[in-house]
Symmetry: none
Subunit: 417 residues, 2 copies
Amino acid sequence: MSHSRAEIITIGDEILYGQILDSNSQWISQELDQLGIRGVRQTTVGDIEGDILHAFKEAEQHADLVLITGGLGPTNDDLTKPLLARYFGADIELNKEALEEVRALFKKFGKELTETNKQQAELPVNCEKITNKLGSAPGMWFNENDTVFISMPGVPHEMKGMMTDVLLPRIRSEFHTLSIYHKVVKTSGIGESWLSDKIKPWESQLPVHIKLAYLPSVLEVKLRLTASGLDRNQLKADVDDEIEKLIPYINKYIFGYNKDTIESVVGQKLQDMALTISTAESCTGGFLAHKITSVAGSSAYFIGSIISYNNRIKEEILNVSKDTLSTFGAVSEETVKEMAVNVRNQFKTDMGVATSGIAGPGGGTEEKPVGTVWIAVSDSNGIETRKLSLAKNRLVNIEASTKAALSLVLQRLMKIN
Amino acid sequence: MSHSRAEIITIGDEILYGQILDSNSQWISQELDQLGIRGVRQTTVGDIEGDILHAFKEAEQHADLVLITGGLGPTNDDLTKPLLARYFGADIELNKEALEEVRALFKKFGKELTETNKQQAELPVNCEKITNKLGSAPGMWFNENDTVFISMPGVPHEMKGMMTDVLLPRIRSEFHTLSIYHKVVKTSGIGESWLSDKIKPWESQLPVHIKLAYLPSVLEVKLRLTASGLDRNQLKADVDDEIEKLIPYINKYIFGYNKDTIESVVGQKLQDMALTISTAESCTGGFLAHKITSVAGSSAYFIGSIISYNNRIKEEILNVSKDTLSTFGAVSEETVKEMAVNVRNQFKTDMGVATSGIAGPGGGTEEKPVGTVWIAVSDSNGIETRKLSLAKNRLVNIEASTKAALSLVLQRLMKIN
């Protein structure tokens, strides 16, 4: 019994014109891969009848499972639903349950249904409706001639909600899946090529059924181990064994596994240790607080922040001394230290974290070019600072400074322990 | 003479497995669109002979120009070159010029050529070599049966270098390019279906050479007008005319055009009007300040923020009255009003913006379920609030609250003017 084959079809002129990046296909591919369903093709077509129908036909010949995103909106350029009905020779009728679901959703938002919205509850009679808890276009599940077609909205969070709640569990139970087991080791503070050199002896002894991939991003390198075979428990044991062997090579760079993020690991440690944290941000402009508060449950340990973008706020609200600011400047070790200590005192938290730097593109000088950033962490063990020399891109600088600050917090937390 | 049709084929298991995001297709699509070449399909296949050959055949039937990326590396899983040779029934021979180019490149990096590298200079005899200044795999240009196939490396900067230096100028001169002109109208504060209802009379009178697309995202709907024809200046004039007619229908929902974001438009207005702004954030946890400060030059008008995640900070630092907090709760119109007024006073800014809500997944009650958010804006004209009833996803709630707050700021700025 071979495992099932899937094709993803993305519908929308906006992708063909390069106006949006198709991130849905990647997300869906990852999820199918986790289930051990093999992705065989991805196709993007525009809002054109002939092209869409041809893509359906092609996909049916190649795949057992066809996942379609996009073209389900209420407007005239949305063709997916009528074309699926035509493809299967099915009539479209009002689905009362779908209508009730849309009505309830709109009621929650305090809005009345329009005629156009009501039309979204009309579905081909040969499909099963898939509830969309986050939007007005229901999904559809068709099973014809041994191929399953699934149609979903193109709005990423609606598609992901539908996949996670309903479709992935159902796909897992109805399709032939080969066992694939992934585990991702997350590292920070070491570049890809240095990491590769350090783990070479370990990498060269990996068994053939375990593959290694390097996935670098801003101030982070992920190592993904992928094992494939028949017995999932055995695969898991094999991967865990290899990770045990890997750890001694790069122990101090590993901050987590799989879906762990630096902010989630920091959050878990703060929670476990019953510690609280506050931030005083200049160049990160709230992004550090945002990363910390993007973790569910962060209100247990994150108390708050002062974003002192203007020097007046550093002085008047954060109480950084006028002398420090005029002598050393806002982007200096001295200023960032005072910011960290003062926010910790004012907010009465166990840790205080501060950032100050030049995110760019303007504001750089010869002495302090764009990308110069100071970070500081103050806690019961004292205070520690880091100077970063980053690149020229504003948003990358903000992200990298934030990640560096969280890494320093994590290192300090390990020492408190 | 109709304009040329292009298909993009991306080759690589790593995309089908969701391990990397295919950003090449978007970049190529944008460039072709600029030239007025119509993208008709994008296909991704894995490193499998049959799938790749089938994709070549399919593409040849649909397109005049087929752009292929990936599968040109030196290892065994790189199949593009031998399969193109087989597809065209051509032999592969050493291309001396390609060999010299690779040798020169390696010399520049201080490296010796290996046997494997030399093999990369072997090319199908029916192609023209395209120089790769940034890597060891040359590109290939095939012209067979009135279809041009171009093969490029998958490494983004190598592909982009080759396209920019050689391929795009050549495509422009050898293909029929029809002018295409896009303009995007950005709206906020109205859902896709209501927007569609409002502009129906305008939409139904659009000339046939102008197409309309709805592109919805979190709390935002973009309307994209695409005109195609021969004379670019005429197309631009036609689109601008139609937008002039559109404006009266949805004036109050339009916040910008093309690459404008709410935060960039708010920033521009604040700067033009010489006004300053501060934020007091609870549920948005710094994301509002982050969006404002993601705009280059925002230090001219953004003074700072207090993120009062914990109620103690609302009271002690933001001076929200104990009475208000205990009587109405942190998530209430009364609290969010005091937050906006107080941060404006404390930070001495022209505008103060505040958010307080339940981002979830925990913390909801029957009276105030997850997704309940209050926002307030205080300025010289007074104070205005909004209540939002959002969905269950924490990050979407944070993003939607932020966008709603920025929209309210923008509306207030229009009134100040």
